[in-house]
């Protein structure tokens, strides 16, 4: 049984088959990349995995458990976190508050419990704050804790989104084009961060257009084109694959 797998996953928008019968498995503790031209269905695939979209057919499994019928908040509680192609931070909130919200996945304060057991609620609030500060610290942005999150530079917002995703203590982290819109220096920083995240035992599924980054960090690559998986293999195999080369050359 694989750690994480999608099986024959499909999803259409009207007449457009955005994801078509896609299957692949992800090994635990690996960095698995999904690449493909614009509109290939990569983000749609992530939306299906995270539960933001329902698949028309197919299955998604984490440690064998089916996820495809669960609402997004339950999938998050099962240990899947994600970042977005166009960063989605919470407005009117500080960096620290954004990261603390990630911790909420791990908080068991129920509906009425928060009001009925105030001392416990208060302790939990303190530990959430403490742990979130530590995460900011390990990502090197502790000094931004009190800054308004959405007014930061784009590169910093990316890191805050990473921090929020890590705060959920995921076992599988989905990264949608983490290097998009970043300069070379920032891209290097992100690459280091991703390697570091994997070293901590988190499995990474990453979408990225930056080929040198992908070839550098990933163990395994799946290639999508027009919703279909056209190839899969190690970076070396993918670089030699004729279908892949055709799709990418055909693009320009």
């Amino acid at each position: 049984m694989s750690f994480f797998a999608v099986e024959n996953l499909s999803r259409a928008f009207g007449g457009l088959q955005a994801v078509s019968d896609v299957s692949f498995a992800v090994r635990e503790h690996s960095i698995h990349a999904v690449i493909g031209p614009n509109g290939a269905g990569k983000t749609t695939l992530f939306n299906l995995i995270a539960g933001s979209l329902a698949p028309d057919s197919g299955a998604i499994r984490l440690n064998g458990d089916p996820l495809q019928s669960l609402p997004p908040y339950k999938i998050a509680r099962k240990g899947i976190a994600r970042t977005f192609q166009n960063v989605k931070l919470f407005r009117h909130m500080s960096v620290l508050e954004n990261v603390m919200l990630g911790r909420h996945v791990r908080s068991r304060a129920g509906f009425g419990a928060a009001l009925l057991n105030l001392p416990h609620t208060w302790r939990e609030e303190r530990s959430i704050r403490q742990r979130s500060l530590e995460i900011l610290d390990t990502l090197g942005i502790a000094d931004l804790a009190d800054a308004d999150a959405v007014s930061l530079a784009f590169g910093k917002q990316r890191i805050v989104e990473f921090a929020r995703a890590l705060a959920t203590e995921p076992t599988l982290l989905l990264l949608d084009e983490p290097a998009a819109g970043l300069n070379m220096h920032e891209t290097d920083e992100i690459a280091r961060l991703i390697a570091d995240i994997r070293a901590r035992g988190i499995t990474v599924l990453i979408i990225e257009h930056d080929m040198s980054l992908i070839m550098d960090i990933s163990d395994h690559i799946a290639v999508l084109s027009s919703g279909k998986k056209i190839a899969e293999g190690t970076p070396a195999e993918i670089q030699r694959n004729r279908d892949v080369i055709a799709v990418y050359l055909g693009e320009d």
Partner: protein, 296 residues
């Protein structure tokens, strides 16, 4: 006008204005998590006060008020479960019309349960003739109760939204529902929670104002209009704006008595609402983005 007169009007205005502010904050809480303007907000005050009046003959006053709040919260939760939680994709406009319908239904039910008589809770301390002299102006101790309880509610709400897991989760839902879900937040429960909070603060405000303004089955309508005006004036979703807006409307209303016949008092809020709609639809403190209706 003498200084004492000005002070008298000012105190009265602040008192009623703080009630308007609570109604507006009730609007804001539900608006922030759902994008819906809940026009049954005024009925929360009526149901809370009427229930408390009924029970005040059977049990001590604080308990009667607690029952009033509990019943109102139950009504709020019922509204959420029946009309919002299980709908696939309710549009904001449809929901606004639904809440207007609900306010009418609640009023009709209240008419049957309590008839059309005007009622009121007993004064929390003293009676209708006791008063406190503040620099020459006279204020009923109940007005101090109103101010104290409204201020306490505002402080507690702020602490809740800023320093609690659930409060922060509710803010996250309003800032970005997609990201909130991916943080493991059950957004539907947060919507329910927003109805619980709005109903609870509405009911408590209804009870504390009841000895001064009295309560009738249809008193929610004008409160909703005033509260809505205040919410728009302060910028929808902005609770600091709601407090300032509430005080402005309350004070203008009270001063209007000195220059206009009493009958025009209720027209003040409507006039303010129209002016705001014409000249500054996003409110005094609102940002443009907030004034656009939110979709789910």
């Amino acid at each position: 006008m003498t200084f004492e007169h000005v002070l008298q009007y000012l105190l009265a205005g602040i008192t009623i204005g703080s009630i308007y502010a609570i109604v507006a904050i009730g609007f804001n809480i539900i608006y922030n998590t759902t994008g819906i303007i809940n026009f049954a907000q005024g009925e929360f005050l009526m149901v809370g006060a009427m229930t408390a009046v009924t029970f005040s003959r059977l049990v001590p006053l604080p308990l009667a008020i607690a029952i009033g709040i509990a019943v109102t919260v139950a009504v709020g939760v019922l509204i959420d479960f029946v009309f919002i939680r299980n709908l696939k994709k309710p549009t904001v406009l449809n929901m606004i019309i639904v809440t207007i319908g609900l306010s009418i239904i609640i009023r009709e039910v209240a008419l049957h349960v309590w008839d059309e008589k005007v009622r009121s809770l007993p004064y929390f301390t003293g009676d209708e003739i006791s008063s406190i002299n503040i620099l020459g102006a006279y204020i009923s101790p109940q007005a101090l109760w109103v101010l104290g309880i409204c201020a306490t509610m505002v402080v507690l709400l702020n602490v809740f939204f800023k320093y609690s897991v659930m409060g922060r989760s509710m803010r996250a839902c309003s800032a970005n529902p997609v990201a909130a879900r991916l943080c493991g937040i059950n957004t539907k429960n947060m919507v329910t929670m927003s109805f619980v909070l709005s109903a609870a603060i509405g009911a408590l405000a209804g009870c504390v104002m009841s000895p001064i303004t009295q309560t009738q089955y249809d008193c929610g309508t004008s409160l909703a209009i005033k509260g809505f005006t205040v919410a728009i004036l302060g910028g929808l979703g902005n609770s600091t704006g709601a407090i300032i807006g509430g005080l402005i409307v309350g004070i203008l209303e009270e001063f209007s008595i000195s220059v206009m016949p009493l009958a025009y008092k209720d027209a003040i809020a409507i006039a303010i609402l129209l002016l705001i709609m014409f000249f500054r639809p996003s409110g005094l403190f609102g940002k443009q983005e907030v004034s656009a209706l939110k979709e789910f």
